[in-house]
């Protein structure tokens, strides 16, 4: 676990530190270089010139899960891929977040059948769902910003309690 779990509640100090840490986490959220299907192409578009996620400090896509903070599940997750996805998630260090990008990752989308997990939340816990098939890059960026809002509200005390 990170440092913050070891800190108790130290009043103003913790609050300020919380703010700083959460701010840094939102601004340096490195996604994992990981695409599954159609949405991955839109994720690439979001990285490219028109939408440019690098503005948020997100162009450092890490190929190794050990170094990434955010997993964007871009596309449908098949029954064969599920265990792999979970393994990758488990390999990421805390704190980590998951965005289920697109309908397939959120709820199975149009593929309501034997081969596809009906939502990636059956495999890994999801923080933000982005709708669309595939979602436009703007939608993905909106999802990321929503996640930023969520991250900004993290309290160390909660994390410490969670890790116990």
């Amino acid at each position: 676990m990170g440092v913050e779990q070891k800190l108790g509640n130290m009043g103003v100090v913790t609050t300020t530190l919380e703010n700083v840490v959460n701010w840094s986490r939102t601004n340096a959220m490195w996604p994992m270089l990981f695409g599954l299907a159609c949405c991955a192409i839109e994720m690439m578009s979001a990285q490219a010139a028109h939408y440019d996620m690098s503005r948020f400090g997100m162009e450092l896509m890490r190929a190794s899960p050990r170094q990434s903070d955010l997993m964007i599940v871009a596309g449908r997750v098949s029954k064969k891929m599920g265990p792999v996805l979970r393994r990758l998630y488990d390999q990421m260090p805390e704190p980590k977040w998951v965005i289920a990008m697109g309908d397939c990752a959120s709820c199975g989308g149009v593929f309501n059948n034997y081969a596809i997990y009906q939502g990636v939340d059956e495999v890994v816990p999801v923080d933000v769902y982005v709708a669309g098939c595939p979602p436009r890059p703007e939608a993905l960026i909106h999802g990321v910003l929503t996640l930023h809002e969520k991250v900004k509200g993290i309290k160390f005390a909660d994390m410490a309690a969670e890790s116990k």
Partner: protein
């Protein structure tokens, strides 16, 4: 010894480390912004004004990130490897002169940490042990990709060390000294890059290999080995590798500037302009500024190469090192030595200009060989 000397050394060392650390932090931003500009993007601009706080955000985030130590690693070496990578990159800068000297509290304070008489040798030896961190990181991670990265790194380092050493030799011959300060002062009249342009170019290419930058970023080749030697590292341990890479970039640019581009000195033809107000001999504080400008330009060169060139293949990299750069730098060293010797013997200062001409010819021949090697049986559009 006087305690003030110790204090001076300590303070200078501390300041140098701080410079390198901030330099590293802002180099990452510089690179990301410059890459973004080349790639018609904007680059990080949300953290602070124009993204100026981006490095701080990265650093704080990494500090507060969980540190994973995978179960099957060789623990001691795994923990040691990032440190072994960072330390050489920090102590490498100790012998580089940042400027002339100034007087403070009645003491003459020189702008370098250590005035080593064998400064150049010190650089080669520290640069040569800098590879251990990467190799050991690759080996200790117990990961096949990391292992391949480590193996590649060691092989690459051995192949390029020799050309690097020979480039140092060129500078030593021209400066007639192994002391970096004297080498800089020897460039008062003309930069060595002008006398030996091919040598400077070879040096720049070799430095790219030395700091594992694209197109020679074999050990971490993302598309081949995912993250290479640091695949299993997370949090601050990973940040240390990051730090080492960028600090090495800065330091090696400083070395390049010092050896071939006049170090902290101004352009040689600027010395007498406006009564010498651009000269470091007149104002000591211009030295670090000039050096910094040169470093920024050289770093941009590295970033530019990364943005445009594909990665070279691993075996071709070795072949390039052994078959092209090594003979070329040997010949260049030879040409330089003969040129200087003839100038001294015949006493005609014009003979020295034979060196740049001959060396450029050699470089062109080398380039021609490369192109000949690339020819295919036949191709054309049908």
């Amino acid at each position: 010894m006087d305690w003030t000397i110790w204090l001076e050394w300590f303070l200078k060392g501390l300041i140098l480390c701080l410079i390198l650390l901030t330099g590293f932090a802002y180099l990452t931003l510089y690179e990301r912004r410059a890459l973004a500009r080349i790639q018609i993007r904007v680059g990080p601009n949300r953290a602070g004004p124009q993204g100026l706080l981006q490095p701080i955000a990265d650093a704080v985030k990494l500090i507060f990130k969980e540190e994973l130590t995978p179960g099957k690693v060789y623990r001691v070496v795994f923990l040691l490897a990032p440190v072994l990578t960072v330390v050489p990159s920090l102590i490498l800068a100790a012998v580089i002169p940042l400027g002339t000297s100034f007087t403070l509290f009645g003491r003459e304070i020189t702008l370098y940490v250590a005035d080593l008489n064998v400064g150049v040798l010190y650089l080669t030896s520290i640069a040569s042990i800098a590879v251990y961190g990467i190799v050991l990181a690759g080996w200790s991670s117990n990961n096949k990709y990391a292992m391949l990265g480590g193996i590649r790194s060691s092989a690459q380092m051995i192949s390029y060390e020799l050309s690097l050493g020979l480039c140092f030799v060129i500078a030593i011959i021209m400066g007639n000294s192994m002391n970096l300060n004297e080498i800089v002062n020897a460039q008062k009249d003309v930069w060595f890059a002008v006398i030996q342009p091919a040598g400077a170019l070879v040096f720049l290419i070799v430095t790219l290999a030395e700091v594992n930058r694209a197109p020679f970023d074999m050990p971490e080749a993302e598309q081949e080995l995912t993250a290479g030697y640091h695949a299993e590292y997370s949090g601050m341990k990973f940040a240390l590798f990051f730090m080492a890479e960028y600090q090495k970039m800065i330091v090696i640019s400083m070395i390049a500037a010092t050896l071939f581009f006049g170090g902290y000195r101004e352009f040689w033809f600027m010395t007498d302009w406006f009564g010498g107000i651009f000269s470091v001999d007149r104002f000591w504080f211009l030295g670090p500024i000039y050096l910094m400008l040169k470093v920024v330009v050289l770093l941009f060169f590295m970033i530019w190469v990364r943005a445009t060139w594909p990665r070279i293949r691993y075996d071709r990299l070795m072949a390039f090192g052994w078959k092209v750069l090594l003979p070329l730098s040997l010949i260049l060293a030879f040409i330089t030595a003969v040129g200087i010797l003839l100038t001294d013997l015949l006493g005609n200062p014009l003979i020295i200009w034979g060196v740049p001409v001959l060396s450029i010819i050699c470089a062109l021949v080398a380039v021609a060989f490369i192109y000949r090697d690339l020819r295919r049986k036949s191709h054309g559009r049908v």
